[in-house]
Amino acid sequence: MTLRWIAKNLLEERAALAASIGGVALSLVVVLLVDGMFAGESERIVTYPERAGADVWVMQSGVSNIHMATSLMRGEVVGAVKAVRGVASATPILNVGAFLESRGGRWYSYVIGVHPEERRGGPWAMVSGRALPGPGEAVIPDVLAQKAKLGIGSTINALGRTFTIVGISTDTYSMANSVTFVAYGDLAQLLSVRDGTASYLLIEAAPGTSSADLAARIRSAVPDVNALTREAAVESDRRIAMQMGIGIIGVMTWVGGLVAALVIALTTYTATIRRARELGVVKALGFRQRTLYLTVLVQGGVIAALGYGVALAVAYAVRPLLGVSTPEVALVYPPVSLLRLAATTALIAIAASCLSGRHVARVDPAIAFRE
């Protein structure tokens, strides 16, 4: 009956309830969207190391990332790696960050130099055109093509040279880490490095050789390189991405959480003030303090839970719309993030209710005798 009373109290003031749920939902949506964008971007950032076809990534010693890193290995080092037992093939790629320019627009992208005859290192899914570029040619991501209004046959400038677009790839775009493919020879020339030099080596493990064993063997056999399994390379890039955004996410979560806490606290507090007389009457009738605490707690809990539910619905509703209107932004909601936000929201509800609980404790039951 007490819960029924609490529920009816909430429903009796529908406008206040809706405003409170809306306020909580709005603050949580902000947290969810920022978190979701970051998670989406983190996933996109690691797409290249994940999909480029390497069992083991080999890079310059002291480097442990593909994203936000510079690596360069001489031809002799590359040869030494190829000679390690268990290496079935080693595909060298060159990698440099550069601005692509076309029709007055500039877009930052990693430019990957791949050998036209190699199976690894190039795009893994195409929208149109050829996957591997020849001299003077480039393959660009679909989102970039859409944003820059470029198509097959269009030209772009990178590193002071003009490339003709011969292919449009998909799954290769992210806000921080788009991937454009050009011919290895073109990039080697632009970087003024000798043929055979590589930024990274994409290693295919021989049948029966585990990636972890092979990476360890390469590290011990060739002192000037670092070797990571695909999983380790992906994890390393993901960690870098998370480190870069964790501060922003943390601040947004705090801000969103604080707003949600204030909304819940304000709602339960004003409801407590408005119903002080009823709470006094309930005390006078013989109900204990804990019943009144329960009232406030359930009230805060219901608002928080409904606010969270609405925020979740909005966040999922926004996702397909964003995919159409702003394809460069990917929204991903990892279950662990949703659970963490749910737990945070529950804690917020409890903390906010405690503030009102102090007022509840001071309600005088003798208020019932006052007219």
Binding site: W5, G286, F287, A368
Partner: protein, 284 residues
């Protein structure tokens, strides 16, 4: 009186300390037996509500003892008092104090969750009480749709749901017109006489005198002998009810004369059309 249900022994309440101390109730002793309806009257600010709060276990006296059904409330701690309030005392308030979001029946049943038997058993009792108080067809109505008289009858049913031996009523007719006020008084009379409960009514309503077994006069926080001529009866110019102009709470001035009323409701009607009622006998 040894079988008293409600006893106050030398109860005093002082608010504040030192030279700012205010003695709201001073050395009050009283006993109310089962089946007895006692009325406490007195001017505004005489300490009636403070005394009632202490008798109901809602406020601790500065000194003295309050006993209900053999339990000394002043020896109980804060966690024990709510249980006594739930099982031993039925409260009736001037402002009705129904829970606005609950129906009439839910309001009646609400305190039953505090006692053995719980809600299920209480529903049957609530139905019987609402039936008896003429509210059978209003059980699903929300308080805002009830008249003042209906609200007070629901409040009485709520006060009776846990079968308490003591009923404390604060101005139970204060917000009712004469007809509904009379109804409520008759119900309280029955509750005392037929059910053997000790009923204490704090009121300005002189009609309670007709049904009260005893009348106590509280003035300046102390029980005193009643004045020889405490009443000066006049007629409410609107409803024609007899009103004691000496203790009347509701009054107004019109054309240089003072008019007293049984309730704010009659005052409102008077003010809407004073000329219509001015010639009546409520003027003093």
């Amino acid at each position: 009186m040894t079988d008293a249900r409600l006893t106050a022994m030398r109860v005093t309440k002082v608010f504040g300390t030192g030279h700012t101390a205010v003695r709201a109730v001073h050395d009050v002793s009283l006993e109310i037996a089962p089946g007895e309806l006692v009325m406490i009257m007195g001017p505004s600010g005489s300490g009636k509500t403070t005394l009632l709060s202490m008798l109901g276990g809602l406020m601790r006296p500065s000194s003295g003892h309050v006993t209900i059904d053999g339990i000394d409330l002043t020896t109980l701690n804060e966690s024990e008092l709510p249980d006594v309030r739930a099982r031993k005392i039925g409260f009736i308030f001037q402002a009705f104090n129904l829970l606005s979001s609950l129906t009439a029946e839910e309001n009646v049943v609400f305190p039953a969750q505090l006692v053995a038997g719980g809600i299920r058993a209480a529903r049957t009792r609530a139905s019987a009480l609402l039936e008896r108080l003429g509210l059978a067809d209003r059980r699903r109505a929300l308080p805002r749709t009830l008249s003042g008289g209906e609200k007070q009858r629901v409040a009485i049913a709520r006060a009776l749901i846990n079968d308490p031996p003591v009923i404390l009523a604060d101005e139970p007719t204060g917000n009712l017109d004469s007809v509904h006020g009379q109804e409520v008084l008759m119900i309280l009379h029955e509750v005392a006489r037929d059910e053997g409960r000790a009923v204490l009514v704090v009121t300005h309503d002189p009609r309670v005198e007709d049904i009260a077994d005893r009348i106590l006069w509280l003035e300046d926080g102390a029980l005193r002998d009643r004045k020889a001529e405490p009443h000066s009866w006049v007629r409410d110019p609107v409803c024609r009810m007899r009103v004691d102009e000496w203790t009347a709470q509701v009054s107004t001035e019109h054309a240089g004369r003072r008019y007293v009323f049984c309730s704010p409701r009659c005052l409102v009607r008077f003010e809407a059309d004073p000329e219509r009622y001015a010639a009546s006998s409520g003027a003093t």
